[in-house]
């Protein structure tokens, strides 16, 4: 009885994996049709990002490309929510989930006016006691890399909704920006790194208009 399930899951994983690989490496990005053309925020995605820039009164970065099956439309089918804190830090999340355990999950964050790594609370229950620990939200920094016009620091151990993600962080105008992707089936660590590289190369700066 188990055999066909294993085959079906494996086939699905292969299909999705093949799809991701194709998207990551072969398909032209919506707004980057030629190597020479500068990336552009797709028209259907731009209103959401513009609205976010206006809301936080700071520049945001719209992705010109997202790993399949995600898109960067904040009102699209793979939106997973946008939240803005009182200090204007924000999170824009995109998620595709295929039961039982396949995810494609990308988060964008920024901390306007802040250059220090934020702190997160780690909560564990040990012997029935709740223990709280103050830890960096992003840790295990890897050597910085130059991607397009950005110098990013990859972080491999991250907290909260970025847990089990690889996260790229860069600083600009005394602010922190991040983009991260979940390492989860069907996406391997190596594919996540390739996807993040490609997203970085396609980021388009959106200035607030109000």
């Amino acid at each position: 009885m188990l055999g066909w399930k294993v085959i079906a899951v494996a086939a699905l994983a292969l299909a999705v994996s093949a799809g991701l690989t194709a998207c990551a490496d072969d398909e032209p990005a919506p707004a980057a049709k030629t190597a020479a053309a500068p990336p552009a925020c797709p028209a259907s995605w731009k209103p959401g990002w513009q609205q976010l820039a206006n809301r936080v009164k700071a520049p945001v970065y719209c992705p010109a490309w997202m790993p399949s099956p995600l898109d960067g439309d904040m009102k699209g089918p793979t939106k997973n929510g946008v939240s803005v804190e009182p200090d204007r830090s924000w999170l824009a999340s995109f998620l595709w989930h295929e039961p039982p355990a396949q995810d494609v999950h990308v988060n964008f964050r920024a901390y306007p006016g802040r250059t220090v790594i934020p702190r997160c609370e780690d909560t564990q229950v040990v012997s029935g006691k709740v223990r709280h620990r103050d830890i960096p939200c992003f840790s295990d920094a890897q050597p910085p890399r130059r991607i397009g016009r950005f110098t990013v620091t990859p972080y491999t151990v991250n907290q909260g909704v970025d847990q089990w993600h690889v996260l790229y962080l860069w600083r600009e105008r005394r602010s922190i920006y991040t983009v991260s992707q979940h390492v989860a089936k069907p996406t391997t660590y190596r594919q996540v790194v390739a996807n993040l590289d490609r997203m970085m190369r396609g980021l388009v700066r959106i200035e607030p208009t109000v």
Partner: protein
Amino acid sequence: MRLTRRELLLGGTAAAALGAVGVYELVDRLTEAPTRHFGEGRAPEQHLLDGLRIADDNGVEIVVPTLHHQMVTATVGSRPGLEEQASLERVLRHLEDEHPGTPDGLAVTAAWGLPYFRRHVAGAAERHLPVDRRASTSGRPRRALLDAIRFPSDPDDVLLEDNDVAFLLRSDNLEHIQEGAKAIFDAMDGVLEMTSIRKGFAGGGFDGGPGLPKQLATAAGVPGADLIPDGAELFLGFTSTQKHALGPPRIVNFETLGLVDLGPDSYFHGGTHMHLSHVFEDLEAWYLNFDFAERVDTTFRPRLEVEPGTKTVPQPPDQAASSGDVQSDFRRFGAIGHSSSMQSTSRLQADVMGADGTLYRKGTAVPQRADFNTLDNPFFWSSRPRHDLMAEGPAAGLHFVVFNPSSDDFHRNRLAMDGVLPDGTKVGLKPRARGQGLNSVLQTTHRQNFLVPPRSHRSFPLVEMAA
């Protein structure tokens, strides 16, 4: 370098699998075996390997393991007699004549499981198998060799194996291992039936470069391979063979520490105990969920100050943790260290004058590890693939091999790793809790305990008594 599917596929028959090298051929492509001629004598002990090089990392002395390892398990087909005993001894001696007992030669260790002693030499075993004094109670003696048990952090479906014999082959030269395994099983055709072949590698990065774990895992496309630090001895990133963490040569002999009663004729004097298990390692969970500080905390000891990126963390005898230290760490930090929790049982708690005349100081490590990285899933070859849950494709793991003076001694260490301390105290961690970092990313699949006779009785031990 990526491997082709053909290179990753398992061999079909036992003979083909014994001769096949698969992914492990890369070890020779990626490294040059150092020339080592430190001594060619054969000690009475089978488990000792002569001429291991000592390297230095972070100011810590490291025992450089052999590059290639292979374990072949088997059952004994029919009741062995003196003829079979002589045949196996003859082939083992021939291999010794052909190769020095050093890393550039070949070391073969024959270890025998309880099924062998029960099925084939029961009467003699009853009289001569060593008894563990510490584990015995009045009226209830316990042998130095016990059946393997499941530990709190083991999955429920861990297979407790029933092999009669296991041959551990170690060398820097893959051809020597292939030649040795083939010679043994050709000579014993019809007597020994192979049940599994397990292959692997260790080290390769002590002199710079990415090291074998990272190179082979990357070549095999194992998830998380890119996250292994360059130069790591093992997949999980830290060095396990530092000199202070390994027992001195003869400390694990049955007779050395006085833990074991060797019986009327001391038949197994110079012998020891070996535990063999296979463990899957979830590299992505380890490197994406635990930052460097937490990996140090849970591998060594909570809040240990270690420079980021360090692979070899000093563990000198005078800093060995006690049970009290482990409990105190747990109360303060909600975590225990893998090494420190085991030090409460694996390090001597007081000076001991050994039977070999050596004064073993308090804090000295007892177990001698001989484990090796593997990409087997879970074995390179199995005679019962469904039973052993053989799967296609490579998987990061460890064939854990350790020598201790007795099964009970190993069980004490392994229980301490799960937070069950030698005085019976249990720290309040759940078996695979995050506070036991390492345990939470390990998944044991198979276990068995073996007795390693001295070299003089390595071939079908006790058969001459039974005859």
